[in-house]
Symmetry: D2
Subunit: 307 residues, 4 copies
């Protein structure tokens, strides 16, 4: 189970498909092992970047089963369960927990606007799940169009102790992160904060009090190194490495298209058998491939200089 | 099967739940019979106002089976299959068609903006479904945030002959409706056009060339009467009746809340066992109930005057 | 000056142009007299439906001067001053107040989402204006994409006593209106609440505690009659008249296009010399004109029956 | 005048204010000289990042006059004139051109969605301006919510030859840029393409055929160096320098907050007397300042290594 002290790097797992678009469970096993080897302290499956919305209900469960069986308890696995209705959300959550998930991740439905709507929504969600299911709240305004203020988040956390983690991907979001930690020092309860946005601000976010990252960047070992380095006060030592990755992170954080870059890199690294992205979805063109070749070559060169 | 000549009133079916929120298949049968008695020339299930997104996958299929078995071929049944990914959309569509659906309804995904994105999307959808599945295109900017121009619709219809029907609920939408019919006279292929928006502009839309309505107003017999009256050139005779309903239609077309009014009226008319709306969803308060009492009483009085 | 007891019908004034698009100050005088004759208890100028954003700064002031000179103190005049920046908002407000306005109307900027952003914004606005300028808060989610919860409004009103009036056009909005009045009875300060949305729910809104209407429907005498009738407990007597207008109100409340209908009706009633709407803006086509002819004829006939 | 061959770096000028928020014309002169010294081949004033919407009409003109007088014809100056109405847009444009502007920049109004609406809008704009005013089309979906397809842009350019330049800041946007250049080779007319987004993809965009940048990054000399280097086939030589700036560019491209970082850097570099941003607007907190200190120090160190 995850809790409000959980830290490290939870990799948002891609969902691998074969070149003709079928769910590829063999690659799912290989990818899971890859993530664990590269330093993942947890996994998150069936998230947005995992193309969850493009799976059939049966595919979702069979992918989840494969990942859980491969992980075999070595690290916690969080499951994305966001859905328009509470019955479906509850149903998927309970199935996931029974199968061995460590918690569920819930994004707000895109129609929510006011603080009252948001606090009301998470109250309903937690009531539907029952108190024993640990919840990660996903705060991702760019993708969802929903904004949480610091006060609103604090109220939601205070009302629902089972929400033990925040997936923080507001942008800009450093001030929000700092304000949450300040409130904590002033007596608000603690939540674990793992940051998203492809890790674009990871060193800065660790400085403001993040516990780690929850994102799917195709070099999770770098994320793990930065999180670890920052935690032990060695930000200087790791930020050069982080900055070397920044040109590639920038390619991967492009809305929509970024996923195609991510899967292509995972494919090139041998973690999945095909970079296929299900439709509707992005596709790399020849010039993108050339740009990626160049970016990876420059990354390698720069890392060699730093080594 | 529906085709490009289909006309009349396709009722968007509510999905009935028991007072504690379970899917109520007994009421589903009763409601289906109610719609047929009140003059439905077709049904549409698993649409937005059918709370499709709040059903589990199993519930969706069992509700669909119940409706199809009750209808028993008396009228065509269209099934809402909109989904973020094509695999899931295709899977639900084929299941629906095998079970006896007359066609599927596909709304654009909410991220689509340009004409190229929209034409590309429907090309992908039709390719995924295969040419034998009749498709209804749902044009509902208020709910989806997606806008189709007349030219864009004409291009989509020309490229995909299996799209035989437009569910028209742009707002304002009369000029668009007229322009589509003008293009048809100038040689563009015909599509059936059924109008939504709770029927708010039904007489005006019939005047501009609509073939009927596809909406869930709780008095479908009035919709049928207006469609029929307008078709045979007796708009004057039916518009007084339509206008008598306008105060109630106005209550039912309120975004979100309207569904609670609709289910309450269906409940009062004996068509379903409970007006329950699944969460997250609207709920009537005492003042709403009082307003509905009054509105229904005034409607009855006015209809009596007109009789 | 307006205050928190202000009631009645504040007509949102159209801005008249000549047939070739120039600002028409002669028609501005005539239109102002027309509104006063038809029972306006106040006017609101330079609002959205007054095409304020399509005037040059010089035109705005000269139109305002003309209206104020014509009104000559007979009724209060509220001025729309919404602007992206506070310096411009303050500058226009102070100019308006010096010229004799009774208050200013401020909509939120469209980027605001959280309660904290909204309360912060109105704090800044009131600080910039100084405490002596009465403010109307415009709550219009459909047009602005900004949503206020009841709690958020109550906090804004409590913090800024100079906000004496709410222009209420949330949709659906009856529950919000009722909740504000309930809070008032429980000790929150009073604000005047005038309703918008073309008056589409006026009798219902009066029932829930509205003080009147602030909208630009082209038959303000009906609005005045309904507000007065509801206040003295004669809702039954006026609701038939209201319902007779509902088909036309429905045409006028269509987003965008509604303004063209409104100006056409004002033109036909002799209140302005041309129905011209500045570009970019809507235009009626022949079929719209025919529909309007019919709607007005039916309105006249129905009113005759009721007389 | 700008034309369809214009290239280089057009700096989006900040608008300087004194520490108490007044327009600072002395700093405007200094900032203009700073931009020219650092390699600007043109300036763009009264854009979004120039806080144009927060100026009064008088301030806009006096700032424009100051910049034009300081530039004194050394480089072309483009003026942002986007406005909700065509009368105001035309009026500001003609005033700007009379004063010596080299062209005007027009973003779409935020309500536009379909290709037909967008092509119609630019047709109206060009008709209102007359054929002698060179126009820059701003394509900035993240800020405006409006999306142009490649086909839509090509149609707009073909219909309106006075639109000589595209300010390209779609995100992701590399494929669009490439497609526009491919269409050009296939016979579509040429437009100049300058890229925005803080320069975040500048080397990549030059590779795809951009003519330069139009953005306000606080180190314009780097932009000029990259544009020049890429043009003469020395991308390798300049990309290390670009990548060294990427951590700072990332801070500056944060929506909203980025402007505060930009003005703070301009202030530290001595280009303006105060980093003040008008309200409503972002403000740096202590932790932001510390992060900026660190980022600038690391930039300096890295540039030294590369020198």
């Amino acid at each position: 189970m995850i809790d409000n002290q959980t830290s490290g790097v939870f990799v948002i797992s891609a969902t691998p498909f074969t070149a003709d678009g079928a769910l590829d469970l063999e690659s799912a096993k290989r990818l899971t092992e890859f993530y664990l080897e590269k330093g993942a302290s947890g996994l998150t499956v069936l998230g947005m970047m995992g193309e969850a919305a493009k799976l059939t209900p049966e595919e979702s469960l069979s992918f989840l089963d494969t990942v859980l069986a491969t992980v075999a308890g070595r690290v916690p696995v969080v499951v994305g369960v966001s859905a328009p209705g509470l019955v479906a959300l509850r149903s998927l959550s309970l199935q996931a927990m029974e199968r061995g998930a460590a918690g569920v991740m819930v994004a707000p439905t895109p129609n929510l606007r006011t603080d009252a709507q948001l606090t009301g929504y998470y109250r309903m969600v937690c009531e539907a799940l029952g108190p024993d299911v640990p919840v990660v709240l996903q705060d991702f305004p760019l993708a969802l169009g929903v904004q949480f203020s610091v006060d609103c988040l604090l109220q939601i956390f205070a009302e629902n102790p089972q929400i033990v983690m925040l997936k923080h991907e507001d942008w800009p979001g450093l001030a929000k992160l700092g304000a949450l930690r300040t409130a904590e020092e002033a007596g608000a309860g603690r939540v674990s904060i793992l940051v998203g946005n492809g890790g674009l601000f990871l060193p800065q976010e660790m400085e403001r009090g993040a516990d780690g990252a929850m994102t799917g960047y195709a070099f999770p070992e770098m994320l793990a190194q930065v999180v670890e380095g920052c935690k032990i006060g060695k930000r200087d030592a790791v930020e050069d490495i982080f900055d070397a990755h920044l040109p590639l992170i920038r390619l991967e954080t492009q809305p929509g298209l970024g996923l195609a870059f991510r899967k292509e890199v995972l494919f090139r690294r041998g973690a999945i058998a095909s970079p296929f992205v299900r439709r509707p979805g992005p596709k790399l063109e020849a010039a993108d491939m050339a740009e990626l070749d160049r970016t990876l070559a420059r990354l390698e060169k720069r890392l060699a200089e730093l080594a």
